[in-house]
Amino acid sequence: MKMIPVETTINGDQTEFLCNADESLLDVLRDRLGLTGAKEGCGTGDCGACSVMLNGRVVCSCLVLGVETQGAEVETIEGMADGETLHPLQRVFIEEAALQCGICTPGILIAAKSLLAKNPDPTDTEVRYWLAGNLCRCTGYDKIIKAVQKAAAEMRAA
């Protein structure tokens, strides 16, 4: 199969890659670009573990073709921290132990960050609905919601 050249911006960096027409953005990120933060859970858009930002919106990278990102802006979990300084959401998730196995965590952080950009002071219900597409099989969600709220409060005060 003929490989297709794609130019895109990932975490602010101009990036070029070659991929097959039917290859998902998730596979491109993980297998071609070495960005393994986004995880494959279901591969069918149900679990949210592969969440990334595409042109400012949170999407499942398993439901995006790599070739679709020509000229697009992609943000992944690898771009969330500022150098050695973790994003408040990342730090609070660790402080509050809002994760156990960690597979869902990159997707949840990306989705939570996109929520707080749109709504800096959400209710618990709004957080739960926004994150309904991010499945976690360990925590029971309670600590995740609390961590998002704690980080949100900190970010509002900053």
Partner: protein
């Protein structure tokens, strides 16, 4: 699989018409890429249309709105004027999948997947929405209700695709609502659903009504008798009883793991009743 971004609508329909193998159209990708992954379909050609002019626009037109085929559910929900005029259409679109899915999924894709349980379709049907089709022999307008013909099948000819959906203008004192039954609170497929759109006169009497039901027949179904049952009323108990009876009579569901024939029929009637009350109240009526 070849991936092509045609330069124009004409080029897209020519490409689709000339393809001997399996062709699929890509806009939001939330259905087609799942089918690809599950190997339910192995397309030879994937035609990406979302870069074409008008595809991402929600444009005011003759008092209503024209919605491009690549507009996402999230974008519909963010459009205040559209949501004010057609809240039932928008709430149907906003029930499709998760936040992530709503950022990509489109009402045109939901329509063309032709699922009987498609959440955005009953609202479009009661809105009298019209799809604008582009094909190798030109363009044509087709009412949304006529697009799906059976589960997974549409009336679109080879080489044809939908470029936009038109939601017509509506008078003051008109509104709509959509409800579905699912056994959880989010991210599920409707067991049954109902949309109601109605218009009121200054005294609160219903002057026009359309009712559509989902997941209770091979396609989303417009129930003319159910709409007629509440015209001339203010949703009194007799009118509601007639609405429920007409809705139940129009159901021909299947029994599967999601629900039985009896359960689907019963809940469709209840949802039509509740959606009628919500639409009535949104339209300014007081019961």
């Amino acid at each position: 699989m070849r991936y092509v971004k045609p330069e124009s609508y004409e080029a897209a329909s020519a490409l689709l018409a000339a393809e001997d193998g399996i062709a699929r159209i890509l806009t939001g990708g939330t259905d087609v890429l799942v089918m690809l992954k599950a190997e339910m379909v192995e397309p030879d050609l994937m035609v990406d249309l979302k870069h074409l002019p008008g595809m991402h626009d929600i444009a005011a037109e003759d008092g209503g709105f024209r919605i491009g085929a690549a507009v996402s559910s999230a974008e519909l929900g963010e459009h205040a004027a559209l949501k004010a005029m057609w809240p039932g259409v928008v709430e149907g679109a906003e029930l499709i999948g998760s936040t992530q899915v709503q950022n990509r999924a489109t009402i045109v894709g939901n329509l063309c997947t032709a699922s009987p349980a498609a959440d955005s379709v009953p609202g479009l049907v009661t809105a009298n929405a019209v799809a604008w089709l582009h094909g190798p022999h030109g363009t044509r307008d087709v009412p949304v209700v006529e697009i799906p013909v059976s589960p997974g099948k549409t009336m679109l000819a080879k080489g044809e695709f939908i470029t936009s959906i038109y939601l017509p203008a509506r008078p003051v004192g008109a509104s709509d609502a959509y409800l579905r039954f699912i056994p959880r609170t989010e991210m599920d497929i409707a067991v049954s659903s109902a949309a109601v759109s109605l218009e009121l006169d200054a005294g609160g009497t219903i002057t026009a009504a359309r009712v559509a039901i989902g997941a209770v027949a091979p396609t989303v179904r417009l129930v003319a008798d159910a709409g007629a049952a509440i015209v001339g009323t203010k949703l009194d108990d007799d009118a509601i009883a007639a609405l429920i009876a007409a809705t139940e009579a129009a159901c021909s569901p299947i029994t599967d793991k999601r629900g039985t024939i009896e359960f689907r029929t019963k809940t469709a009637g209840v949802l039509a009743k509740r959606a009628a009350h919500i639409a009535y109240s949104r339209a300014g009526g007081k019961t």
